[in-house]
Symmetry: C2
Subunit: 121 residues, 2 copies
Amino acid sequence: MSKPLELEDVTGAACCAPLSGPALGEAEAAELAKVFKALSDPVRLRLLNMIASVEGGEACVCDLTGAFDLTAPTISHHLKVLRQAGLIEGERRGTWVYYQVIPDKLTRLSGLFALPALTSA
Amino acid sequence: MSKPLELEDVTGAACCAPLSGPALGEAEAAELAKVFKALSDPVRLRLLNMIASVEGGEACVCDLTGAFDLTAPTISHHLKVLRQAGLIEGERRGTWVYYQVIPDKLTRLSGLFALPALTSA
DNA sequence: TCCTTGTTTAGATATCCGTCTAAGCAGGCG
DNA sequence: CGCCTGCTTAGACGGATATCTAAACAAGGA
């Protein structure tokens, strides 16, 4: 079957309540930690940036690979990590594979760091 | 006055432009990666959550320590990592040490994940 | 069928990280 | 003045995990 690049998203319910909100359970904290671990690498950060900023919302792996002094398998590995974190999604179209960010995920992460309006000093 | 817990903030200019914005340089990516590395541990995530959600904006280390099955030095270590990432700030007041988040930092992280109005058409 | 592109697996190496114990420093109190 | 508590620092150990190279596999197109 030509199912592209499916991969279990290790990121479940985490990343919804803001950090300044209710207490984070151990499980949720562990989930979130995985996402941040995926982001804790310069190459992956740049890959995500490239994918997110590409016009049309899609980036071809062939372009991404050229931007680094790394072998294709290594880039592929990093993309896989980002995929497992639920940050990006890949799709094969013909010969090439295209990646795009998962906006919902980014938006939720954004909300995670949101602070409530300062109630007092 | 009181000499709190100064520590070089390894986090410079990074974390301002959204991921979907202009290309991330290697240096910036490395900086950002450090911040996310600090966040890639469940204990630290929970510590940050506790500090951020405490009423009054300040959390006493003595309270934080009790919430985990870890020794005081270990907690202190994690707090140091968060401090180095520029996420929190500590201050000694009398016998105890109090920590608080650095709102500006969180806000910038929030902006990092912000997406522009969907440009794809 | 063969070639190109990209992913996956395997494995070896290296590195990093979290945790602990022990010791040091700061401040308050009897 | 000396002790006692609270937090941090220093150092080390064990374990886990990431990284790369190399080779095989999968999917399409000519």
